[in-house]
Subunit: 436 residues, 2 copies
């Protein structure tokens, strides 16, 4: 039996009773499992063989009836009969757009944004959603050449809406978030979110992320943020500054962390926002949307480690790279007098006049510093640009963007040491890596 | 006036009175500052111009009198008159061995282990310290070729003592810790520690780290650990498994974090140990000390990122590298179908049969997984070795050590996927990156 989008009451063979909405099955769904969205917002997967009886309680509101999602699902423009504000949803692929393929056991990015949103029909009560499906890319395949397209599509949607939610694979979401921050200037919210488990799984984290993301797109925030589970429970999402966020767990729901700067706010699915730090506010009047996607993609992120070979920098220079971001050790070190003879100093002294050499720290938390130790001063004198407390990944994206505007190394250095989109604190905030 | 190691009572011009021990001045000390160790263990720097009067209260106990540190300072063997157990201290350099150079404002690694320990004379009450000064190296200059020397010196000291404290620069301390774990097998404790601020500074974190380190060297622990401040306060140190620790802040006192595994225990300066997780215990009988320092140093740690150029792997292969550890995205991804045409798959398919290609995750927390996504399965089929929840830095050290024993790729793969020194959990522990 198919109960798609039906309000159902289920009696299990073990005596339990459950009420909720039966979620739509897809070509890839396991037909022996019925997925039900419970009233508390959780989805459960019920083995059909354990079910005694399913009783229909009517079709759920919001699908095929209400202003937003329902009509979108049928490809019609919003009727606008309900007075809910327009929000853009940009699909780019990722796990959030994926289904389990029960043939191979793997996961495929095959859902449109409309199909994903059909799992959370209740959002139509507060948002009139305009969908754009730009890509169907996995996170690992996003490359700098994709960022301008994402930025332009976001800008187009922003001009028709109050804010935009970008659905994206999580692994490289923070790189794209930084790119959006530098390339797009607007005081409307742009919210990046996704999922650690595909949207058709009972255990998916997609729905809270999307619901909170849509609420954030309608909030008073005026800067791009990453919106992701605050914790393993399905309570709230953290809103984190786009240039300050990093994926810090392969698979946990609360995978993203705000680094070197506080979480800006917490959002729940009902739209209640708890402000935790200062953030830029949505402008009162009509918001401008400015796009500047000039980019130099030939920038590498290079990890320094004991024994690391400095000739790698020459290889990049010979390949025409315009810049490298080093993940140095501690305050921004490279080997200078190692016993294996591989000093990075002569290579850097030669190359830092030809290409931008930017220093970040592999400790992730804290800031690089060009003065504490003699070796640091010498690196600085050689032309190495210390990026302060900018994250390595953000520094790479920023350097690509800065080099897209000027390749004069003095100007590049000044830009990399100037805060543009919240990526660099002039002073160190006392935020330690949190304790367990 | 020189008050080195004198018990003093100080009257300040503003009326304050302070009691403590005047710490020794050095050639590099600022002569206008008197550093006094207060009874609560903190050091304060007092400007001599603010001091009204200093009264001597006698030479402090422990310097030049007691069994341990005093005699060591004079280069004599321990008298053994006091019944305190022998502990080894191995100096290798780093900030813990550094003084502020008041001429340049920088910091130089110029102190011997004896000189450092002279700041904490009270440790002679519980430990008869045997010093070895092996190197005077800064953290960034430690390279794989140094690890066998550190391991051999540690082993020699271990055979004469109950446990060894290795003083080391912090930036690469976790790489050396992993090397010690793989190269040295013993059930006596080996404790790595250091300092974020040089030992001659009033604000140094060195003394708590050293005191707790010495206590740990005499504890029931039977495995190598990193010992470092639990928090910004000077209360306790965390004892963290050597293969599971990572420097996670450029400058905070609590710079090190135990990743993917719990902190093993907390130690205070009085020797009180709070056990927090299971750890290997010191053997009851005489402990064996086994050294195996065979190492293949030509292994690189390569960070994957959007736009990353896969030809870098060819460069390493052509240079004769025997292995690379990739810091992939998420569960262990590389670009496979990016729009810039730079797929890593063909390069990996070609090279993974010639050199060891090991996959870790740049999320740091969590574990790589070869099955969830089609692209991961294909990487695994191409011969990529997924290192589970092993840290990238630990995986690099382990791969160097494994390749030092066999270069047969099948055997290498099996070793990299087998837990040897606590670096790999067979199953995922539910430890998330902690919240702020």
């Amino acid at each position: 039996m198919v109960y798609d989008n039906q309000q159902v009451e289920i009696r299990m063979k073990d005596g339990r009773r459950l009420e909720g909405v039966a979620l739509p099955s897809t070509d890839f769904s396991d037909k022996s499992i019925l997925i039900v969205k419970l009233k508390n917002g959780y989805n459960v997967g019920l083995s059909r063989k354990d079910i005694l009886r399913v009783e229909r309680r009517g079709r759920v509101e919001g699908i095929g009836r209400m202003g937003g999602v329902g009509n979108m699902l049928k490809g019609k423009p919003s009727t606008g009969t309900r007075d809910v504000p327009p929000v853009g949803v940009l699909g780019t692929g990722g796990t959030v757009a994926s289904r389990v393929d029960y043939v191979t056991g793997g996961v495929r990015a095959s859902m449109t944004a409309e199909e994903i949103l059909a799992f959370v029909p209740e959002v139509a009560e507060f948002a009139d959603i305009k969908f754009v499906n730009l890509f169907s890319k996995l996170s690992e395949d996003m490359c700098p050449q994709d960022w301008p397209e994402i930025v332009r599509a976001t800008a187009r949607l922003l001009r028709q809406t109050e804010g935009v939610v970008v659905l994206h694979g999580t692994d490289t979401l923070h790189y794209t978030a930084a790119a959006l921050a530098f390339m797009l200037t607007t005081s409307k919210p742009v919210v990046l979110t996704g999922a650690q488990r595909s949207s058709d799984r009972p255990s998916t984290d997609a729905f809270l992320n999307i619901q909170c993301g849509l609420r954030t797109a309608l909030s008073d925030l005026g800067e791009p943020v990453v919106c992701f589970h605050s914790s393993t429970s399905d309570g709230t999402c953290d809103l984190m500054r786009a240039t300050r966020t990093r994926k810090m767990h392969t698979s946990a729901r609360a995978a993203f962390r705000s680094i070197n700067t506080p979480v800006l706010a917490r959002m729940d699915r009902g739209g209640k926002l708890e402000k935790l730090a200062d953030y830029l506010l949505r402008s009162k009047g009509p918001a401008k949307v400015k796009v500047d996607v000039r980019l130099e993609p030939e920038v590498a992120l290079v990890k320094v480690h004991p024994g690391a070979d400095p000739r790698i920098l020459k290889w990049y220079a010979q390949r025409g790279y315009k810049g490298v971001v080093l993940e140095g050790t501690g305050l921004g070190h490279v080997p200078v007098s190692p016993s294996n003879g591989r000093s990075w100093m002569p290579v850097i002294q030669k190359l830092a006049g030809e290409m931008a050499v930017v220093m970040t720290s592999q400790t992730i938390y804290g800031r690089t510093h060009p003065f504490v130790y003699t070796n640091l001063r010498e690196l600085s004198q050689a032309g190495v640009i210390f990026a302060g407390d900018t994250l390595p990944e953000t520094a790479m994206v920023k350097l690509m963007w800065v080099l897209g505007h000027t390749q004069k190394l003095e100007k590049v250095a000044r830009q990399m040491q100037t805060n543009i989109k919240g990526e660099l604190n002039p002073r160190t905030l006392e935020i330690s890596p949190p304790s367990q």
